[in-house]
Symmetry: C3
Subunit: 475 residues, 3 copies
């Protein structure tokens, strides 16, 4: 280790994140090298498709890298930097304010130490933008200017970066009533050769307890042309929107609720609660019962129309009411809760768990279920895949824990492959590269322990990077 | 690492599973070497005692290594190979079908990568049967023929393998109404010098909600000669059967229920519920209450008759109803659930936790309780031992997590020693060898960190392999 | 590894607890060396302040190192050594009995293998007392004599050890009605230059279900001079006692209850339950409701008077009733239970989570909440810090798991720094040294993976040892 002098430089070590033990590192380096340049498959994320349709230059460094990224804003908020002073929920920022936001992030660069946010930002700054100075209060302005200059260049427009990032498929996340015009526009654009596909995300439409739910039903009726005054119309309208998504290239439907119970209701009971919810007279328990029943229905629809079903449950969204009221959702105040899958999903799995072609991918923020529930479930049901570590768990140690927790019960073939789940477009290569390095490290450990032969290790790596997401998400 | 060429060979590396760091590996190799050849003590498993009594040649490779082993069938099922095409629940297989089952397993050899199933099968094939080719679609038939030839040789009969495996004690798992004739037969056989002991496993008799429970009570009465029309008769009959087991060498009683609550009932309440259950009028809650009370009673009996009490709770058996209905239990569709010990066992431990000679061994599939509950409990109660990782957790990383999670709170002396819990006879040496390698690795890490002296490390290893199971299971 | 000969010596290796891989160990050694001699900051512990006020020689080895330390007595109890034969709850021991207790501990030295108790005791014996022989039945008497001789020397009196241990601040834990005379005495002593501060610990006063609660209320009224016949008087009396503590140097208030729910009561409801509890007519649910409301009130008071609020929940105290009845609390029979923070603390955090200057430190014995709840919470709320691993988790592997579980979500800045939480005065340097070694190992791993630059690693180490506790506990 070099002397502990204060450093101002920033660089990426070629062996970063690989195991420290030299013998294992050598194996990992070889495994990583073989997949390093493979195309990026991103079957679940939150990039706005208009970004690629319009292909306008990114605005400024703060709006690109700080303000909209709740991974970044939450840690700054915890360190005493108010969300208002980070430009959150304030629309486009004037140059002076954008620069101030950027300065605040740079001045707090140390709070990211040890986190993947630091890793991703460093990767983006160095690898994409060629930055060589570490962010700090002292370097903030110069970096701001440097990045601003880069962003004005044609090579840093979204489509150019899409190509440079070697993205093969990019899935967005979309409201069921979205007309998907941006996706249609991209598909119709002869100058565009990428693949951007929508994802059906009906959460709010399945939560009758939500304050705007009757309005959503009205909107759904309008968009689908199907009367949603009763339960059967509601179901038909949802099915119609799924067809609309499939026609625009969607291969999956994503669901995030507090729990994943799937207790069925009789149609008459479902209809009664549906009408009560529309009239604003459903109890909280009734609304929950209808939501759980609808999750079961979504599996039924997936069996019929082929959309892969993905579940991302177990988060208390907007945990701090005053923040949610002032700044809206997705600003860093979402906190995980305990989750249970074994009993909750049993009705769904009894009915559809062995249905040919049905794919169900389970994600969790509660790591306790990896070895206890998800791996045993995916180790039996042919429809079921263990989703990659997500959100707070998309981080080196968490990813290592995930592999250690599940591989012994399900091997590699029943896992989803990596998803980046990001709204930060420029972090996509960093995130996929991190995943490849970590998987290489894990597989190298198996080789070093003589649990896997070298040829098998290479096959596993290629399968994790390309085979799994392509098969699991039906790409 | 060798080039990533496809390999067709298969061999066992002498250092497999030992830590990768060369210094730690050297320590581990020495520690492992000192216990490698020690006899196998297997105080809990599911081998059929008739196997050793009859000493008939094993049938065919599929029936030996695939069909009856739910560790194997569940992963194949998850990969789309139906249980019907694996010969599950179909009785003896004709040669053509057996060969087809074997081919299916070999063709899916890659789905076992990274799992202990792969490790065990590899060990069995290479070490016991001398196989040198990796299973695959291409090698399946030749391997089938090779194994079939081996199985016909006298050296591969059960008793010969029992000796070759260096088994000192083998405990089976038996129904309370079993006459234990196979055990008696072995004991009376002058040509047999091994030790096969029964284990009292009364689960179904303690679950009044089970559909066949009244029939079980009738059977219990018949076998014990004690009228089971009321609660006291039921208890007396159970006690009588325990005495029968003890007379045939049993040293432990095993219990597996959904939870481990031990809330006592007043005798009158227990009798009332017992009669209601016999009449088919007990509610689900009443049946559960009686089961929990009976678990407490089993501890009382263990204090009196000396049988070690082992608990294996927290599994949702037959999670997929259609599979259970068609193929029966133990085919790979059992899924763990969350479990709680601290409060659940309190009534039992308040009464019997400090009873001299009482041994209670707690197993879990919910790893969260290792550091939170099991280690603190076993670090206070002199009756209590933390059971080795079991079932899904009988795997290298899980075993490492177990040692890391509990050793700091209970050391080594309050642990059970390894149990293989297997019905796959030929996997016994592989499983015990795996455990010894992993313990050697863990103890070597303590030595490498200067937390344990070399002489102590050697004592710990011998104690884990021989001392713990012998003392804990009263062998 | 040296040959496995039985050893009788005992020494401390300079690299103990550092990572085994030579490259990482070299980095860790350098990082550890830079903080090794920094003063000890102990913001939470259980040392009796009279120890330092009186500065009397410690009695005998058993009373110093065995009898009062539940970490030691619980493991001996689990190994069949009754608490009575360890002198627990028997007051001062005559010399013969003290020697017998010491002999019992030495004879069971092997049961501590792999535990931090072994590590701490070894450190204390070697580093403080110069012992070179390993405790055993054979060495017990000689060690007893050797230690007794040391303890009679002036250099082994409490104040001399306080200086030798380089303690900068030592917080005690005190009853709200304590007059804090010992603290005042130390502060007024011109020959004393250390810093010993009280901690406000009102648990029993906030549990209206406790059998002695009405007596506590009477005592509170007497000591505070405020009538506690109604709820507002109770609150005012608590506030007055907090002021008394602050006047004597306290910077924090500590709370340990079964859960951390903070559901508010209307003042009228709080008053009604308070009066019912005083009259002995409150139900268990009402008492719990008042306790939960009072925990919210304690946060309100902390916002107003600045005392740091620390929570140590989730333990079933006195799990074994007969032991509790005979030997009292804190003898090793406390067992953790599952805990939940996300929903439980939401009312508190909605009100006070962003209050300027409010510090809330969350400790847990349920490791599952580290990555799922505590890190995400502390990664958003500027008031909140993740407490260091505590009690059963104050151990090498648990500390490593803690850093791995939380760093990726909260970095280093939102953590509490180490607390020793000990009543064993002589274990303080061992515990802090252990923490420094482990943090050095963890930070070295980040450097070895190129996730942190060398200068940053040095800053992190200094911050963890000095910066964090000083800032978080407002020292």
């Amino acid at each position: 280790m070099a002397a502990l002098l204060h450093s101002t430089g920033m660089a990426l070590h070629p062996d970063r994140l690989l195991p420290a033990e030299p013998g294992v590192r050598a194996i990992a380096r070889e495994l990583y090298g073989a997949v390093r340049e493979l195309p990026v498959i991103s079957p679940h994320g939150h990039v706005d498709p208009r970004l690629l349709l319009d292909d306008q230059p990114f605005g400024d460094p703060a709006t690109l890298l700080v303000t909209p990224d709740h991974y970044v804003t939450r840690l700054l908020h915890a360190s005493g930097v108010g969300l208002d002073s980070l430009g959150v929920a304030q629309g486009p920022l004037p140059e002076g304010e954008s620069r101030a936001v950027w300065r605040r992030m740079c001045a707090h660069w140390d709070v990211f130490r040890g986190t993947p946010v630091r890793y991703w930002l460093e990767h983006e700054l160095v690898e994409i933008f060629g930055v060589t100075r570490r962010p700090s209060a002292a370097s903030a302005d110069a970096l701001y200017d440097e990045l601003t200059a880069r962003l004005a260049e044609p090579a840093f427009r979204p489509r150019a970066l899409y190509d440079r990032f070697r993205i093969a498929v990019l899935a967005t996340t979309d409201d069921p009533c979205d007309d998907l015009a941006a996706h249609a526009g991209l598909a119709a654009d002869p100058s565009w050769s990428g693949r951007v596909i929508p994802t059906f995300r009906p959460d709010r439409y399945l939560e009758p307890a939500g304050p705007d739910w009757p309005d959503l039903m009205a909107r759904l009726a309008q968009v689908s042309g199907i009367d949603t005054a009763d339960y059967s119309g509601f179901v038909a309208a949802i099915e119609a929107r799924r067809r609309h998504f499939i026609a625009h290239g969607a291969t999956s439907a994503d669901h995030s609720h507090e729990d994943v119970r799937t207790d069925p209701l009789e149609p008459a009971a479902a209809d009664r609660i549906f009408r009560a919810a529309l009239a604003g007279t459903a109890t909280r328990n009734e609304a929950t019962a209808l939501r759980r029943h609808m999750l079961l229905e979504m599996a039924r629809m997936s069996c019929e129309d082929g959309l892969v079903m993905t579940l991302h449950p177990g988060v208390r969204r907007g945990h701090h009411g005053p923040t949610a009221a002032r700044f809206g959702p997705d600003v860093g105040a979402d906190i995980p809760i305990r989750i249970e899958f074994t009993d909750a999903l049993r009705p769904l799995l009894e009915r559809y768990g062995t249905h040919p072609g049905f794919h169900l991918v389970l994600f969790t923020l509660d790591e306790t279920v990896f070895s206890r529930e998800l791996a045993p479930l995916a180790g039996f049901y042919p429809s079921l895949y263990v989703g990659a570590p997500w959100w707070f768990l998309d981080a080196p140690e968490a990813i290592r824990r995930y592999r250690r927790a599940i591989t012994e019960t399900v091997g590699f073939s029943r896992t989803s492959g990596f998803i980046d789940d990001t709204r930060a477009f420029c972090s996509i290569p960093a995130r996929h590269d991190m995943s490849r390095r970590l998987d290489a490290g894990w597989v190298a450990e198996l080789v070093a322990q003589h649990l896997l032969d070298a040829d098998e290790a290479g096959e596993v790596m290629a399968d994790l990077v390309s085979g799994r997401p392509t098969e699991v998400f039906k790409l």
